[in-house]
Symmetry: C3
Subunit: 354 residues, 3 copies
Amino acid sequence: MSKTNPGNYFEDFKIGQVLDHATPRTITEGDVSLYTALYGGRFALQSADSFAMECGLEAAPVDDLLVFHIVFGKTVPDVSLNAVANLGYADVQFKAPVFPGDTVKTSSTVIGLKENSNGKTGVVYVRSTGTNQMGAIVLDYVRWVMVRKKDEAAPAPEAVVPELPDRVDPSQISLPHGIDFSGYDSTLAGSPHFYEDYEVGEKIDHVDGMTIEEAEHMMATRLYQNTAKVHFNQHQMQNDRFGRRLIYGGHIISLARALSFNGLGNAQLIAAINGGSHTAPTFAGHTIYAWSEILEKSDLADNPTGGALRIRTIATKDTPCEGFPDKQDGEKRDPAVVLDIDYWAVLPKRTIAV
Amino acid sequence: MSKTNPGNYFEDFKIGQVLDHATPRTITEGDVSLYTALYGGRFALQSADSFAMECGLEAAPVDDLLVFHIVFGKTVPDVSLNAVANLGYADVQFKAPVFPGDTVKTSSTVIGLKENSNGKTGVVYVRSTGTNQMGAIVLDYVRWVMVRKKDEAAPAPEAVVPELPDRVDPSQISLPHGIDFSGYDSTLAGSPHFYEDYEVGEKIDHVDGMTIEEAEHMMATRLYQNTAKVHFNQHQMQNDRFGRRLIYGGHIISLARALSFNGLGNAQLIAAINGGSHTAPTFAGHTIYAWSEILEKSDLADNPTGGALRIRTIATKDTPCEGFPDKQDGEKRDPAVVLDIDYWAVLPKRTIAV
Amino acid sequence: MSKTNPGNYFEDFKIGQVLDHATPRTITEGDVSLYTALYGGRFALQSADSFAMECGLEAAPVDDLLVFHIVFGKTVPDVSLNAVANLGYADVQFKAPVFPGDTVKTSSTVIGLKENSNGKTGVVYVRSTGTNQMGAIVLDYVRWVMVRKKDEAAPAPEAVVPELPDRVDPSQISLPHGIDFSGYDSTLAGSPHFYEDYEVGEKIDHVDGMTIEEAEHMMATRLYQNTAKVHFNQHQMQNDRFGRRLIYGGHIISLARALSFNGLGNAQLIAAINGGSHTAPTFAGHTIYAWSEILEKSDLADNPTGGALRIRTIATKDTPCEGFPDKQDGEKRDPAVVLDIDYWAVLPKRTIAV
């Protein structure tokens, strides 16, 4: 019998099933440096221990998205090896900071199953949880993927579709323990714009663009131990419909987040991701641009020194964003758009900062 | 007089000569992260401190092959700067684990010399030893290279050809101090297949493929401080017979090892390398695939919780391995094969694990 | 009002103005590993804690040029976002070593202003200072850039042009506290050539060449959080006069320094940079070669165990340096030359070493 991992097919998933994923991962300063080299992020909280300590933390926390990619990567061999499409994610909550030296592992619970009418595929919903070496949850989210059936004759399970929130309620936002923006230094942070300075409906063109190379997205995706074959194997992909290696969607999220520093330089933490779509594939050679819209503002339940902005960020390929490319005629999406993501970020309040 | 390193020519080597190589190297978490980003390894022991501690170690050890490449790289300026060909290596024994923060240096002893009948080159055999900052040997191996003579009139030395073992005797395998697989968690490790589950003669197609970029193999080879010119200088290599930068053979070994996770996910340690051949050159753009055959099995002298598999791994370029490409007609090697390596790996025993 | 950084224009700068730059940066072992992977440096002092400790330091210091690039990168958003050209730098003094874990930030003072006669641009001189988390100065230097005016009608400021030294006086060289080459091991360092072995006027061809890939220079430049757009955005640069992404000049300095190991292997520290010119642009695909000339020698004021060599290093593209390409006919520079840098390096003295 073959010893290689066949992955799970649609009929292998059962409601309530728990999947404990391999490979636990100690996240280190080396990962943080590579993340900086791959995206060029400049958010001060993740860049400098001294800045993080002045904000009440013990050290600079690991970038939220680096944690997301590592927690996510572990689910691939069990959840999406036989996937036809990643359909979406929701209710992504960052619950505790990760510091260099922490070890993260992931487990998932099957919370929804719905066979498609063609009898060949079905949609699997999982809630995945990343925990650290102390057992604390660092990240919790739902994603759903369309997975192939191995045996089309296998009976369809009872359809269960979980109710998912349109957005994480800001009352659920959990900031890193001890964080306090009272002494926040906006000069060192690189932006004079505090929570109060953003208005709902405001649009920001992040101006800069970043071209992607094959070596970069592959190094990133391997760093996350994400083994989805489409990212790495040109010999196989040359016969695919695009003829190219597909770039991991999370690579685009991280690029868009790094570009967003120019306009959102004080958005120090991602507290939650409400949802996101990878609306078109990206390939090496594409230049990524981004713009953002402020969707909503909220005080924080347990921290008067900061506030949460709900931000929608759109990334494009080979298209500057001064015109805020989006849906055309209110209906069709501009074909240059590759990412549409909706998240909560935490910024210091001006009224509190010295 | 020129201050640049001319390297040693065949007539510069003497039997018994000791070469203390430059540059000592502290191996850090940064190197470990880069190694993950370059190859995407998922063996749990090297990935997570928590997993390593549950196996009795103080922390996640540095990947054996990263140690090999660094120890090897140091020998290049003294041993193979004027080499025509790397002919082989044997008796490669990993004798103590390396942890981040350890500093490794290498010295070599000339153990064999044999001038070729053309009078222009000769074969040099060296035993190279990597030691850590406490003076403990971490790696010991023999390699032989064909080296140019500077002066073809120089007299041939008495031929000395060392006897080298076909394979490291498994009784010599030295596991990291304290390692104990009694509490081994195969779910976290990502494979249900223990030592007992493999049979001599069994072949495993590792399925996945990985395409190589120029930036990747050059970053890897520089990380190892291996300065062999053929890997880095396109301006010079464009006039070479291939017209391309050659990829360091060790890069292919590491890729094949990372690919072998799919089928050998519990092969947590490389205890020894019995021999290996780089049977064809590889270049950027090639996609590497691999398959393995189990050659031999052995209990361990001093550890009842694990066993050693002797594994032969074949890597190919641009050729999937479901047909186990090897020698054709029992004689000629399939031209897609680029690596043929024979090593001992240590796996936990099922009968011991909880 | 736009929340993105417009940068400063010529008329925004005032003599005596202090610019505190974002983003503080903790430099880690991860950065050190990436630096090794990008350039392949082999200077023993930066490579091994054990070697550094035998030279009296607490650990291997971070490469001087990595510190330079990080300190420099922070000045870009405030000083050179609207620059037409980087004109030069002078009086670059490395004043204290940086060790992994230290956090560096940068501030600059405007020390010179001179509007150009075209009324469209002006030259801005800044003295930039990098300090660590204890407030100690680690690096101090002057650079001058030509910056666009936003409003050509803005009145010209009184011209102030600072007097800058042709070279840092060697009496000002400040070695890392405690450094002592008495027990220096030149075998481990990889070069038998001590301070005494170099003569003023001596020229050294560093022989080796290194080809640059897009992924490499972009990863390097992002690692330094240097956001100058010309390095990253192919979509924009394809319409530029070269049609290519420009490589950050500092990338070439680091490559030349790494290549210079072959001939200057004991030049363990860069104490100061006297000046430098990026004389032609470089692009991915170019192979960099280098040669050096010894300009001057000096004892050290406070350390009898080492001496300082003033070195001029020339880097070329796609041109080996055995002919020491330089100015042609004593006037015009060889078009292959891309870098001409003049610096002080510290080497151990033979008469002291064991």
